[in-house]
C-alpha cells in the first residue's frame, strides 16, 4: 500500500528570466509611445520616447551633448575625488581612534541629513559663483556617505584577523595597511556606489547656479522653457550615467573583491 511522496517544496527562488526582462523593458517603452502617439495627452505633458530619442540625437549631432557631458563629468569627478578622499581619511580616523570617533560621529550624524541643496546660497557666498562652489557642493555631498561607509567598513573587519596580526607581532601601521584597509574595502566600495549616485544627483542642484553647460544646467533650462522632451532627454542621460557608474563599481568590486 505504498504511496508516492507528496512534493511540498519549491517556490521562493527567483531565477533570472532574461526574456521577461527584455519584454518588460520593451513593453514599457511601447505602451508609452502608443499613448503618446494616440494624441490623448499633449506632448508637453507626456513627451513620447521617440521624441526623447530625437532630442538626444539632436544633442549628440550638434555636439552639445559632449559639451554638457564634459562639463558635468569634470565637476563630478573633481568633487567626487575631493569629497571621497576626505571622507575616506575621516572615516578611517573614526574607525581607528576612539577619541576621533567620539568627537566626530555625533557631528557627522548631525550634518549628514542636511540637504546640500539648502546650503547652495552659502556655498556661493563662500566659493563664488564659478566652478569651486559647484565642486564643493558635490564634494560635501560625497564626503559624509564616504566617511560613514569607511568607518563602518573598518568596524566590520573581523576582530580575529586583527588578533592574528598582533599575535604575529605585525607592527600597527602594517595591521592598518594589510589587514584593516583591505578588510574595509567591501564597505568602502559600497560607499563609493552610494556617493557616486549622490554626486550625480547633486550635479543638478550644483548647476542650478550660474552654469552655462552641464547636464544639470541643460535639464534646468529645459524645465524653465517647458521643453519636456529635452528635459527627459537630459534625465535619460543622467540615468545612463547612473547605470554606467553602477556598472563601473560592480566591475571594481569583481576585480578588487575577487577573494570574496
Amino acid at each position: 500500500m505504498s504511496e508516492p511522496l507528496r512534493f511540498r517544496g519549491g517556490g521562493f527562488v527567483t531565477r533570472p528570466k532574461p526574456i521577461s526582462s527584455c519584454l518588460a523593458g520593451l513593453a514599457v517603452v511601447a505602451i508609452w509611445q502608443a499613448v503618446a502617439s494616440a494624441g490623448w495627452v499633449s506632448p508637453v505633458f507626456l513627451p513620447s520616447p521617440a521624441g526623447i530619442a530625437r532630442a538626444l540625437a539632436e544633442m549628440a549631432l550638434s555636439g552639445q551633448l559632449w559639451r554638457h557631458l564634459a562639463a558635468s563629468l569634470q565637476r563630478i569627478l573633481l568633487g567626487f575625488a575631493l569629497g571621497s578622499a576626505a571622507g575616506l581619511a575621516f572615516g578611517l580616523a573614526l574607525g581607528l581612534l576612539s577619541h576621533a570617533r567620539a568627537a566626530g560621529l555625533p557631528i557627522v550624524s548631525a550634518l549628514f541629513p542636511i540637504p546640500k541643496i539648502a546650503l547652495l546660497p552659502l556655498f556661493i557666498l563662500w566659493f563664488g559663483i564659478g566652478e569651486p562652489s559647484k565642486v564643493a557642493t558635490i564634494a560635501l555631498g560625497v564626503f559624509f556617505p564616504m566617511a560613514i561607509a569607511t568607518y563602518s567598513g573598518v568596524d566590520q573587519v573581523p576582530r580575529t584577523l586583527i588578533r592574528m596580526a598582533q599575535s604575529f607581532d605585525v607592527p600597527t601601521h602594517a595591521v592598518v595597511a594589510k589587514v584593516i584597509l583591505p578588510g574595509a574595502l567591501p564597505g568602502i566600495l559600497s560607499g563609493v556606489r552610494i556617493s557616486a549616485s549622490i554626486a550625480l544627483i547633486l550635479v543638478v542642484a550644483a548647476e542650478m547656479i550660474g552654469a552655462e553647460f552641464g547636464v544639470g544646467a541643460f535639464i534646468l533650462t529645459a524645465g524653465n522653457l517647458m521643453r519636456t522632451e529635452d528635459l527627459l532627454a537630459g534625465v535619460c542621460l543622467l540615468s545612463i550615467l547612473g547605470l554606467a557608474v553602477g556598472f563601473l563599481v560592480s566591475l571594481a568590486e569583481r576585480r578588487l573583491l575577487a577573494w570574496r
Partner: protein, 251 residues
Amino acid sequence: MRLIVERVSHGYGALEVLDDISLTVEEGEILAIIGPSGCGKSTLLGILGGLLKPSKGRVLTDGSAPEGSLNPITYIFQDFALLPWRSVAGNVAFALEHRRLGAREREARIDEVLAKIGLRDFASALPRQLSGGMRQRVGIARALAVRPAILLLDEPLSALDAQTREILIEEFLALWLAHRTTAVYVTHNLDEALRLADRVCVLSRRPGRIREMVAVDVGRQDRTPARLAPLRERLWRSIQDEARAADREYV
C-alpha cells in the same frame, strides 16, 4: 511508516549529485547516512522529505502515520531553523498552526513536548538567549509536537560543541527509545552513527552512490567504545580515502 527510495538520481544543473540511490528505511529503525562533504547527503534528505523533486526515480511511503500525527515526515535541522522572532513556545506553536487543532489542544501539546525535553522554564525565552544545545532541543520539541512517523535529521548535532553533543545524543537516544520513531540520521561523525543507528549507509564521493550498507550488530545497551571499535575501524577504512580526497578538493 517505511520509506522506500527507488533509483533516485539528482543533479543541480550539470552537477550530478546523487546517482541511482535505492534503499528502504524500515519501520522503527534509525538509518544513519555518512559520506564525505558534498556527496549529496542533504540533497537526499531533501528528496526524502518532499522538499526536492529528484531528477530521476521516486520515493514511496508505506504504512500509516501514528494517531494524531500532523506531519508524518518531519525534519530536524543542523542550524536549528528557529524563527528568531518567536519564543521557544512560539517556535513549537509554528508547527501546529494552520492545522485543525483547537487552541486548547495546541497549548497542551506545546506544554507536553516542552516538559518532555526539559524546556518548560524557557518557554518564553527567545532563541538568541539560548545556548546551542537548548536551541536544538527546541528544534526537537517542535518536531515531536507534530508526532512524526519519520524523522529526518540533517547533522543535528554538528553545530554544537563536543560536550553538548555528548549530552544531547544521550537525551535523543532516551527519547527515541521511548517513541521508536523511524529516523534517517545524516552525519559525518562515525561515533554518532554507531551509537544511534541500526544500519549505516555509506555514500561515496559526489555523485553520491551507496557504497556499503553496514548493520550495527551490537545491542544499543552494549555500545561501548571498546565494543564498537572494530566496526568503527572498518567504517573508517571504508570512508577515509574518500574523505581525504574530498578534503583536498577545490570548492
